[in-house]
């Protein structure tokens, strides 16, 4: 009898852990995708003309974001995600 209760208890705890892990994961996704949107669609397209008023070296800033900057940020975003998730996996004991 007590072993069955123990088993159910374990199950509930596992489910709770999985839900908490998933919530944190989704929160990371939303933040990173917001940055993804801002550097490409924001700086490179929607606000390009305003940013082009600023010049850094020979680059107009909006043009730079569209042809260079957004791509650099994309690479950084994925590696930040890799780090965050590796930490999160450890925290919840899902790392291998």
């Amino acid at each position: 009898m007590s072993s069955i209760n123990q088993h159910q208890f374990e199950d509930v705890r596992e489910t709770k852990k999985a839900t908490a892990y998933w919530k944190e994961n989704v929160r990371y996704l939303l933040i990173l995708l917001a940055i993804w949107f801002i550097v490409s669609y924001g700086a490179g397209i929607l606000f390009k003309d305003a940013l082009n008023e600023i010049k850094i070296g020979g680059f107009e800033l909006g043009f730079w974001f569209a042809q260079q900057g957004a791509i650099y940020v994309f690479v950084i975003l994925i590696f930040v995600y890799v780090r965050l998730m590796n930490k999160l996996d450890k925290k919840y004991g899902y790392n291998e």
């Binding site: 989704v26 993804w36 397209i45 043009f63 042809q67 998730m85 291998e96």
Partner: protein, 570 residues
């Protein structure tokens, strides 16, 4: 040594390497054939993904396209890199955890339906065939220009090479040849770019050279110079553009989402061991891709400036040798309309005398800049590496769609592993022959159909996979309806506005532009079709039964990274 000898030498060496790797890493089981045995390291997978993704279009055509489009070319730069963020964050880790061989595998199992599986197979086949035909054509172009064989012979040589290592090695052979091909293609792309950057700006890093001052002592920034030259000749300012903001937005989105939904890219993430490896290799893949993708816009600026300086208002008789070389390929044409013996290269179509194919800019760039012969030969080897690596990846998707998703999963479930392996090899052979046929007899609409492939991937796979992972209650009715409506809408829009078939053919197209929905071009319409797919899926789901308990458990399981079993077909 002259260019010709160098080219034979470099192309010969690289081909020998690819074939050697294929023999060393041939596949012995379906698991090795489909997912390279599932033990590829994140670094090797990152390199292979980068080579797989960067096709003849990225290597040969993209910088040229950008040099003629200026700011508008940003849609390709952001669109074909930003998709990897979506792939790494929303798809790759979960699909790896799911642990099967193909994208239709996921769709079929997650939506507990062979109908869904078959819809996915059809999409995968259409997308991959349109792509692979373009690669074969790229191989032919490189052969014809640099080895002076005709395009058809070039296509056939390419077919034999790809056939050899794709059919023999499967995913295992392809993965390790792609690693070698990435090294060849990135070296071939960077060397001339660095040379030219030093020549024009004194800065050895092309990404910085692009924003530097010219080193002719004038103190003028290169981009300002190019803007000036462009407006002088009646073109739009280089750092501005002609497309509307809405259209730039929509095309970028369609290309990003399409990239994330392409089966030959997704399947690469089934080859690594653990979920964390899938995440890491997506990051590495984008890093390797970004090296070329941030250099390409610099090459575009260098090449355009060089070109205008070399040809504009100069005497035709005094053109350098490369000009004549490319004239004979028909990719460069001069028509002296006002008979003054000089080349007028201007925006006004009535007066303009020079027509330049996009593809020339990268291939002729080293010649225009007067670089040594071995650099020119290197570009030929790089172009071939780019085309062959992508072709092989696509052929694998085609063969596994037939042998695994159709034969094994739908028609002959009892087939043995050996039998399935032979079917896979047979399917790859047939696919190479069909692709070669289209390479030799290219349908006039190759470019148009490639855009269609991205739109299709965006309108079909992406929403179905994302909903399958992030929305536990999504059911088969919703997903199938979404995919069918998404694809159909995309097809309709392309047929109407890209082929003009409802209004009497291609001639009607310019007149139809004003009818574009919300001013969105067919290239950008994939974004709209994708949104419609999402909406239809979610609405239909509300009125149909929730998915069975065991499917909901699958979804919960793929969200947890630990315990990823090796990929299996069962």
């Amino acid at each position: 040594m002259d260019v010709q000898t160098w080219t034979y030498l470099l192309v010969g060496i690289t081909f020998a390497i690819y074939i050697g790797i294929a023999i060393w890493s041939r596949a012995g089981s379906t698991k090795e054939f489909y997912v390279a045995g599932g033990g590829v390291s994140p670094l090797a997978n990152g390199l292979a993904t980068a080579a797989d993704w960067m096709s003849a279009a990225s290597f040969i055509s993209m910088a040229g396209l950008i040099s003629f489009m200026g700011y508008d070319g940003s849609v390709y730069l952001m669109g074909w890199t930003g998709g990897y963020v979506l792939l790494a964050l929303l798809l790759a880790p979960y699909l790896r955890k799911f642990g099967k061989f193909t994208v239709p595998d996921f769709i079929g199992d997650r939506y507990y339906s062979d109908t869904a599986r078959i819809v996915a197979v059809i999409c995968a086949l259409i997308v991959s065939f349109t792509y692979v035909a373009g690669q074969m054509r790229g191989v032919g172009v490189v052969f014809s220009r640099f080895l002076e064989v005709d395009i058809n012979t070039g296509v056939i040589i390419g077919m034999v090479i790809v056939l050899f290592y794709a059919v023999l090695g499967g995913m295992k052979g392809i993965t390790y040849t792609q690693v070698a091909q990435y090294c060849v293609l990135i070296f071939a792309f960077m060397v001339p770019a660095i040379f030219i950057s030093i020549q024009m700006t004194g800065n050895p890093i092309p990404q910085l050279g692009m924003g530097s001052q010219l080193n002719d002592g004038s103190g003028i920034y290169l981009l300002d110079k190019l803007n000036g030259l462009s407006t002088e000749l009646g073109f739009a300012e280089y750092t501005d553009g002609k497309k509307s903001m809405t259209d730039v937005f929509m095309i970028t989105l369609a290309l990003m989402v399409g990239t994330a939904g392409l089966p030959h890219v997704i399947v690469r993430f089934f080859t690594v061991k653990r979920v964390k490896d899938a995440r890491k290799s997506a990051g590495l893949a984008l890093l390797f891709i970004a090296i070329l993708y941030t250099t390409a816009p610099a090459v575009a600026v260098f090449a355009k400036t060089n070109l205008i300086n070399t040809v504009s208002n100069q005497e035709y008789a005094k053109m350098p040798e490369w000009f004549k070389n490319w004239e004979t390929t028909g990719l460069l044409t001069f028509d002296d309309k006002n008979n003054d013996g000089k080349i007028q290269y201007v925006a006004n179509k009535q007066v303009n005398e020079l027509t330049i194919d996009n593809d020339i800019m990268v291939l002729a760039n080293p010649e225009i800049a007067d670089l040594p012969a071995w650099v020119i030969a290197l570009v030929a080897a790089g172009g071939l590496a780019a085309a062959l690596s992508t072709a092989a990846g696509l052929l694998l998707v085609i063969s596994s769609s037939v042998s695994h998703d159709l034969i094994k999963k739908v028609f002959v479930p009892t087939i043995s592993d050996k039998g399935e392996l032979w079917v896979a090899r047979g399917a790859a052979t047939v696919a190479v022959i069909i692709a070669g046929y289209f390479g030799i007899n290219p349908p006039g609409f190759v470019a148009a159909v490639v855009a269609l492939a991205f739109g299709l991937a965006a309108a079909s796979f992406f929403p179905a996979i994302v909903l399958g992972i992030f929305y536990k209650k999504m059911n088969k009715e919703g997903a199938i309806a979404g995919m069918v409506v998404g694809i159909s809408l995309m097809l309709f829009y392309m047929l109407k506005f890209k082929f003009g078939i409802f209004d009497g053919g291609k001639e009607a197209l310019p007149g139809l532009e004003k009818d574009w929905w919300f001013g969105i071009s067919p290239e950008g319409f994939g974004s709209v079709a994708m949104l419609v797919n999402f909406i239809v899926s979610i609405v239909i789901m509300q009125f149909t039964p929730t998915p069975p308990e065991n499917v909901q458990e699958i979804v919960e399981d793929i969200r947890i990274p630990s315990g990823a079993k090796e990929a299996t077909g069962h």
